[in-house]
C-alpha cells in the first residue's frame, strides 16, 4: 500500500449534508423561534422586540398549565398500560409453544403504521355519542342502557386519547421488547432450565432483569414522543373545558389559529423546558436503582 493517500478529509464532505440540512431546517428555525419569543409578531407586520413579555405572560397562563397537566395525565394513562401490555405479550410470544407468532406480531404492529390523524378521525367517529359504533355495541351487549356522551366528560376524553395512543404504540414497543429478548444469550436460559427453574421463574428472574436496558430506553424515548402528543388529540377535540387539550395543541392553536406567533414561540420554549425536565426526571428515577 505504498500509494495510500490520506483521503480522510473527504469525510467532511460526506457528512456535510446532515449538518447543512440540520442547520437550515433545524437549528435556524429553533434559534429564530427563540428570537421571535422575545418579540410581538402576528405574522403580517414586522416583529417588534418586547423583551421577556411573552415569558411573563406564559408563567401566569393558566391555560398553559392546564395543557401541561392534561398532557402528563394522557401520557401516563397511555404509557403504563402500553408498556405492561407490550411486555406481557412479548413474554407470551417468546414462548416456544405459541403458533402463528409472525401473524400476531404483524397484527399487533399494524395500528402503528396508520397515520395518527386517520386514527383520530376514526376514533372520534366511533366514540360519537349518538352515531358511534362503540355506544351501539355497548347497548347491544346490554352493558349500558343510555348512550354515553364520551367527549362531554373530561376523564373519558382523556382516557380515549390515551387509549388510542396506547393502542397505536404497544405493538411498536412489543417488537422492540421481543428483539431485546432474542438478543439475550440462549445459554442463560439453558443453564436455568438445567438448574430446574420454572417458566415463571425464568421470566421473572432472567428475562425481565436482562430486558431492563431496553425497557428504560423505551421509557425515556417515550417521554419525548409522548409529551409532544398532537395529531390524535387534535382530531378527538379539546374536551369539555379544554381538559384533553395537549401542550402542542395549545402551541398550534395559539400560533396558527389565533396568529399570535410570538407567544406561540414562547410556548414552544416552555414545552421544551418541560420535556427536558421530564426526561431528566425519568432518567434519574431509572438510574437510582442501579
Amino acid at each position: 500500500m505504498k500509494n495510500k493517500v490520506n483521503k480522510s478529509a473527504y469525510g467532511y464532505l460526506f457528512i456535510s449534508p446532515f449538518f447543512i440540512g440540520y442547520a437550515l431546517m433545524g437549528l435556524v428555525p429553533i434559534l429564530y423561534t427563540l428570537y421571535l419569543s422575545f418579540t410581538k409578531w402576528d405574522g403580517f407586520t414586522a416583529p417588534v422586540y418586547v423583551g421577556l413579555a411573552n415569558y411573563k405572560r406564559l408563567i401566569h397562563d393558566t391555560f398553559f398549565f392546564q395543557t401541561i397537566g392534561n398532557t402528563l395525565i394522557i401520557w401516563i394513562m397511555s404509557i403504563v398500560p402500553q408498556l405492561i401490555l407490550a411486555l406481557v405479550l412479548a413474554l407470551i410470544l417468546n414462548e416456544k409453544f405459541v403458533k402463528g407468532k409472525h401473524f400476531f406480531r404483524a397484527v399487533f404492529y399494524f395500528p402503528n403504521l396508520v397515520s395518527t390523524v386517520t386514527l383520530g378521525v376514526l376514533f372520534a367517529l366511533m366514540f360519537d355519542w349518538q352515531t358511534g359504533s362503540v355506544n351501539k355495541m355497548l347497548m347491544h351487549l346490554g352493558i349500558i342502557s343510555e348512550p354515553v356522551y364520551w367527549f362531554n366528560s373530561p376523564w373519558w376524553s382523556r382516557a380515549i386519547a390515551a387509549a388510542v395512543t396506547c393502542w397505536q404504540y404497544f405493538g411498536f414497543n412489543l417488537i422492540v421488547f421481543i428483539a431485546g429478548m432474542q438478543s439475550i444469550s440462549k445459554d442463560v436460559f439453558e443453564a436455568a432450565e438445567v438448574d430446574g427453574a420454572t417458566k415463571k421463574q425464568i421470566s421473572w428472574y432472567i428475562t425481565l432483569p436482562l430486558l431492563r436496558r431496553v425497557f428504560i430506553f423505551t421509557l425515556i424515548t417515550s417521554v419525548i414522543g409522548g409529551l409532544q402528543l398532537f395529531d390524535g388529540p387534535l382530531m378527538l377535540g379539546d374536551g369539555p373545558g379544554n381538559t384533553s387539550r395537549t401542550m402542542i395543541m395549545y402551541l398550534y392553536e395559539t400560533s396558527f389559529k389565533a396568529f399570535d406567533y410570538s407567544y406561540g414561540a414562547a410556548i414552544a420554549y416552555g414545552i421544551f423546558v418541560i420535556i427536558m425536565a421530564a426526561t431528566a426526571i425519568t432518567n434519574s428515577l431509572t438510574r437510582q436503582k442501579e
Binding site: F14, L113, L122, D128
Partner: protein, 275 residues
Amino acid sequence: MSVRVVLTRTFLYLILIAVAVTCLVPFYSMLITATHSNSEIARKLLLVPGDQLNENYQRLIASANIWRGLANTAFLAVAGTIINVYTSTLVGYGFSKYRFRGRNALFMCMLATMMVPGQLGIIGFYKLVETLHMLNTYWPLLLNSIAHAFGVFMVKQFADDAVPTELIESGRIDGCGEFQIFNRIVLSLLGPVMATYAIFAFIGKWNDFLTPMIILFDNNLQTLPVMIASLKSQFTSDFGAQYVGIAISVIPIIVFFSAMSRRIKSGVAAGAVKG
C-alpha cells in the same frame, strides 16, 4: 401435557387473540360502516357490509379531492424518501469509513439532535419558509428530508461491518474518485440497510401532518393527512363520506404493510437493539 399446562396455554392464546381482535375491529368497523347510508349509521350497530359505498364515495369526491391528496402524498413520500435515504447513507458512510478530526464529537452532536423535540422550531420554521418565499410550495417539505440522525445512525452501524476498507482502497488504486467509489461500490453493499431505513422514512413522510398543514394553503397541493383532518369539519354529519375518506387513507397502508411486514419488523428490532 397436564391439564394445568393445557389450561394455561389456552388462556395465553385467548389473550393473544383478544388483543389481535382489538387491533383489527376498528378497521373492520371502518370498512363496514363506509358501505352504509347515514341514517343506518345513526340508527343501528353495523356488522355486515351494506350497499351504499358508491353513494358515500360520490358525495366524498364531490367536495374533497381525495385522490389528488393521495397523489400529492405519494409524490412527497417517494421524493422525500429518496432524498432522505441517499443523504443519510452518504453521511453514515462518511462517519463509518473516514477518520477525520472531530469525528466522534460530530457524531455525538448528531445523535444529540434526536433528543430535541421536533416541534420546538416550528414557528421559526414557518417564518424562515415565509422569508425564503417558499410558503405554499413543496421545497420546505423536501429540504427537511435531508439526512436524518436516526437514518445516519442505522447506516453507520451497518457500514462499520458491511463495507470492507480493503474494497475502498482497491477502488482508489483503480483510480476511482471518492464519490465514484460511493456510488458504484458502496451503495450496493449498503442496500439492505437502505431498504430498511427507506420504510421508516416513507412511513414518516406519508403520515407527516403538521408541517404540510402550516406550509401549504392551496387545496391542489395539500396532502392526504391534512385532507383527512378536515373531513370532520367539511362533512359534519355525513358520516358515510367520512368513513370512505379514512378507508381510502388506510388501504394503501394495508397493501404496503402486506408487502413489507417482515422487513418492517426486523427494521424496528434492529434500530431498537442497537440503540
